[in-house]
Structures are given as structure tokens and as C-alpha cells.
């Protein structure tokens, strides 16, 4: 059974640090992420979790440390050494980013089908009928009525927009998906359906996911591992149920004791 675990991590982060002037954004973060693993980064606002996500997604430049990513050809590359063209290709094809604010993750004045098709065209799809067919298929998979394909996201509810973001991101079969509070701000029932959908797709597609959330019950439901951040640093990390059921650090104990049922 040893052989069913891949040896080489997909993502390998070492001593990742970002300063905003004198202030620490995040400091000395190190971890490995393997295919199929879902890592939740939890902490209060200002803990550095969003800075970390921006660094990982190469939207922000690190002050120190390294991020290595194993490309589809099997070779691990230091992301800081990628050319701009390589970086953009990675973002558009091999990675996904589901954002809390759907207006940042979607093109609001382009149709639902266009939002999905755009990512496909970025990887070279040109045949209109195929693109539309694939878009329809993905609308179905994220439980959006296919009849809405020509509607623009402005006409969608918050939950539908998040599902459209997921379709847009997964259509290119990425291997790594970043999620920034994907369910916050939604009604509880909508949130529950979205979580079910994410869980199903993540395990079906074997995705590696890094999800930032302040909601420990979301972390419990979706993730295999947790990193707890405070003041820009990772203060506790491990198996999700271990960290939530047997928290060691004072801050983690406070977080866990502050929720009704995580």
C-alpha cells in the first residue's frame, strides 16, 4: 500500500516570506502538497492567510523563500524563474482560482457559456460547437440550468456565480486549485449545496486544493490537512481532525472553542 502514495510533491513551499514595509504579511511558511490533497489554511482576518494564497498563486512577489511546482512534464520548477508567458499559461490551464468575490473571478458582462469557453480557448480550443458543448456539460455538472448558458453572471444569484466560477476553473482540468473563502457570504442552504458540489468534484477529479477559510466547519468538511495561521506565521499544522479535535496551541484551542460545532 506504500506504492499508492506519490513520492514527489506537486507543490513544495519553503520559508515563504512577504513583508509589507516593516510589517510581516506572512513569514517562514513551509509545506508540501501532493496530488489529491486538500489543504485548508485557517485563521482570523489579518493572520496572513490571504497573503499566503496570493504568494502561492504568484500574484504577489515573495520577499524571501521559494515555491516549486511540478509541471505536467514532471519537472519541478521554481515559480520565480518562470517567464511571464509561462506563468500566465500556468494560471489559465494547470491552475484554478475560485475567489470569494465572484466579480473578480468572472467576467461579469460575458455570458455564462463565454466565461467557461474563454478558459478553453486559452488552451487552444477553437471549434465553436465543441466549446459550447463542453460549456453546457460543465453547467450541468455544477447544477446550473443549461438554459442559462447565454445569460450574463450579473443576472445570477451568489450561489450560482460561485458554481459558475468553479465550472470556469475546472473546465481545463487543472491540477491545483486555489479557493479563497468560496462559500462565505452565501445563505446556509446554498453554502451546503456548494460544499457538497466542491467535495464531489475534488475527489472525482483528484485535485490538489489550497482553500483559505475562516470557517472551521468548512475546513472539517473539505480538507485533509489544516494549517493554522496567526500573525503571519503557521502556528499549528496537521491532519484536519487531529488539529480540530486535539488542538495544541492556545490560539488553535481558542478558535476551536469559539465555534458551536466544527
Amino acid at each position: 500500500m506504500l506504492n499508492d502514495l506519490p513520492d514527489a510533491p506537486l507543490l513544495s513551499v519553503r520559508d515563504l516570506t512577504r513583508y509589507y514595509g516593516e510589517r510581516i504579511g506572512c513569514a517562514d511558511v513551509s509545506f508540501d502538497l501532493y496530488e489529491g490533497e486538500v489543504l485548508a489554511v485557517v485563521g482570523e482576518s489579518g493572520s496572513g492567510k490571504s497573503t499566503l494564497l496570493s504568494l502561492l498563486a504568484t500574484e504577489l512577489e515573495a520577499s524571501a523563500g521559494s515555491i516549486r511546482y511540478r509541471m505536467r512534464d514532471g519537472i519541478a520548477r521554481d515559480l520565480a524563474t518562470l517567464t511571464e508567458a509561462e506563468r500566465r499559461l500556468l494560471l489559465r490551464t494547470d491552475w484554478g482560482f475560485v475567489r470569494q468575490d465572484s466579480t473578480q473571478g468572472l467576467r461579469m458582462s460575458v455570458s455564462a457559456g463565454g466565461n467557461i469557453g474563454e478558459r478553453l480557448m486559452a488552451v487552444g480550443a477553437r471549434h465553436y460547437g465543441n466549446i459550447r458543448g463542453t460549456s453546457l456539460d460543465w453547467l450541468g455538472r455544477v447544477e446550473i440550468d443549461r438554459g442559462r448558458i447565454d445569460d450574463i453572471p450579473k443576472a445570477f444569484s451568489g450561489g450560482m456565480r460561485q458554481r459558475l466560477q468553479i465550472a470556469r476553473n475546472l473546465v481545463t482540468h487543472p491540477r491545483l486549485v486555489f479557493m479563497d473563502e468560496p462559500t462565505s457570504g452565501l445563505d446556509v442552504s446554498v453554502q451546503a449545496r456548494l460544499l457538497d458540489l466542491i467535495r464531489g468534484l475534488v475527489s472525482e477529479l483528484g485535485l490538489a486544493v489550497i482553500i483559505v477559510t475562516h470557517d472551521l466547519s468548512v475546513a472539517r468538511l473539505l480538507s485533509h490537512r489544516i494549517m493554522v495561521m496567526k500573525g503571519g506565521r503557521v502556528i499549528e499544522a496537521g491532519l484536519t481532525d487531529r488539529v480540530l479535535d486535539d488542538p495544541h496551541q492556545p490560539y488553535t484551542q481558542l478558535l476551536v472553542s469559539s465555534v458551536l460545532a466544527a
Binding site: L5, A192, L239, D246, H248, Q253
Partner: protein, 233 residues
């Protein structure tokens, strides 16, 4: 026979930082092992640390000292230091755990919960489906409930779904935390029978059974956890 599980000098204390850093000693220097076909029953009063010990073996609680060796294929893996992904892989293929409470994803029907647990444990999907039906029938969960999510079931029905889910796969190690707690005599007998089947199949079991009758029927050895009470300095 070579043990499948071996605890070696395991110690555990909780430090409650939100309560003036009070330290609760749970167990100290625990040593015992479980071989194929054995059912080790943890004995001792409530609060002695029996459930905590099972959770330590499952990787749900960490331990402060010692090793928990579990056979994974040809290798002994120390749960105390194994990476999360290794522990998750072992939970799929090597060790099963039945807790006192059903804790599942809401909105999924009982039969599917049990069958999914079988598939996750490596059973072929048809085998998982058939066995899920067999176990739910054996455990007297009425067929009209099978498609419903268990959240609305009675405590006993939930517990029986939980047992079916915990026992469906063919894992070599089983951890049972009072699986018979809220069951009537008829269903307790079913559980005893299922445990005996597992023993015959060479599974190593570590369990907690408060019911003396059940304990006497299934136990190969009883390990008194009060022997591992932390020594006061």
C-alpha cells in the same frame, strides 16, 4: 503471531491553555499489542482514557511520547510520526474506526453512506452495494430508511448505520469505541456475531465494550487502562 498493532511507551496529556494551562494527564507508558484474530478489550472506569487511547491509535489525537506501530503491507508505520497523507491512506486500507456517534456528511442516504465507506475501503462498487444491503439488513435497519439521511433516525438506528459503515470494508485493524452502547439485546448479538466474523478473518481488534456480556463473548484479552494512569510526581 506478529502483531498488527503495537503500542510502545505511549503517553498523552492535554494542556488546556484557555483554563490557566491546566494539564490533564490521560495515560502514561502504555504498552500492549494486538495480533491477527485477537480482540483486545480496553477495561477500566469512565475517564480512564480508553477512548483517548483508541483515538491516539487512529491518529485523531496526537501522543506526547512513544510509538504506535501499525502494519501497513510489509512495513510497520508509526502513527505518532506519520505524515497526514500516510495516516489517511492507512485509514482507507488498514484501520477502521467505529465511534459512539455517527458523524457523516449530511444529505446522503444511509445505504449510500455505508456503500461509500466500502468503496473507500477498496471494495468493488457492486460488492460494496451488496454488502451494505446485507449489513443494514443484519443490523435490522428497516429498508424504508435506507434512502434517507440518518440525521432523523433514532440513536440506535444511527448507531447501527455507523457500525455497518465501520465494518463493511476488509481492513486488517479495527478500533471499536462502544459500538453496542445504545443497542438492544437482539442487535448486540448481531454485533457480537460480526466481531467474531472479523476475528476469524484475521482482523486485529481493539475495542471498548461496557456491556459485560458482550465483553466476555468477544474479548481475547482485557487490558486494564488504569494501569497506565499517569504517575503523580
Amino acid at each position: 503471531m506478529q502483531p498488527l498493532v503495537q503500542l510502545d511507551g505511549v503517553s498523552k496529556a492535554f494542556t488546556l491553555h484557555l483554563h490557566e494551562g491546566v494539564r490533564l494527564d490521560v495515560v502514561s507508558d502504555v504498552n500492549f499489542s494486538a495480533a491477527p484474530g485477537e480482540c483486545i478489550v480496553l477495561g477500566g472506569p469512565s475517564g480512564a482514557g480508553k477512548s483517548s487511547l483508541l483515538k491516539i491509535v487512529y491518529g485523531n489525537y496526537s501522543c506526547d511520547a512513544g510509538h504506535i506501530w501499525i502494519r501497513d503491507g510489509g512495513e510497520m508505520i508509526d502513527v505518532a510520526t506519520a505524515e497526514p497523507r500516510r495516516i489517511l491512506a492507512m485509514r482507507r486500507h488498514v484501520m477502521g474506526y467505529v465511534s459512539q456517534f455517527l458523524r457523516v456528511i449530511p444529505r446522503v442516504g444511509a445505504l449510500e453512506i455505508v456503500a461509500a465507506a466500502g468503496r473507500e475501503g477498496g471494495l468493488d462498487s457492486q460488492v460494496a452495494q451488496d454488502r451494505a444491503e446485507e449489513y443494514l439488513s443484519l443490523l435490522n435497519v428497516p429498508e424504508r430508511l435506507w434512502t434517507l439521511p440518518p440525521a432523523t433516525f433514532s440513536g440506535g438506528e444511527q448507531q447501527r448505520v455507523n457500525i455497518a459503515r465501520g465494518l463493511i470494508a476488509d481492513r486488517p485493524v479495527l478500533l471499536l469505541d462502544e459500538p453496542t452502547a445504545s443497542l438492544d439485546a437482539r442487535n448486540r448479538a448481531v454485533v457480537v456475531d460480526l466481531v467474531e466474523r472479523k476475528k476469524k478473518a484475521g482482523v486485529a481488534i481493539i475495542g471498548i465494550f461496557h456491556d459485560e456480556d458482550v465483553r466476555d463473548k468477544v474479548a481475547t484479552h482485557v487490558v486494564d487502562v488504569t494501569h497506565f494512569a499517569a504517575k503523580t510526581a
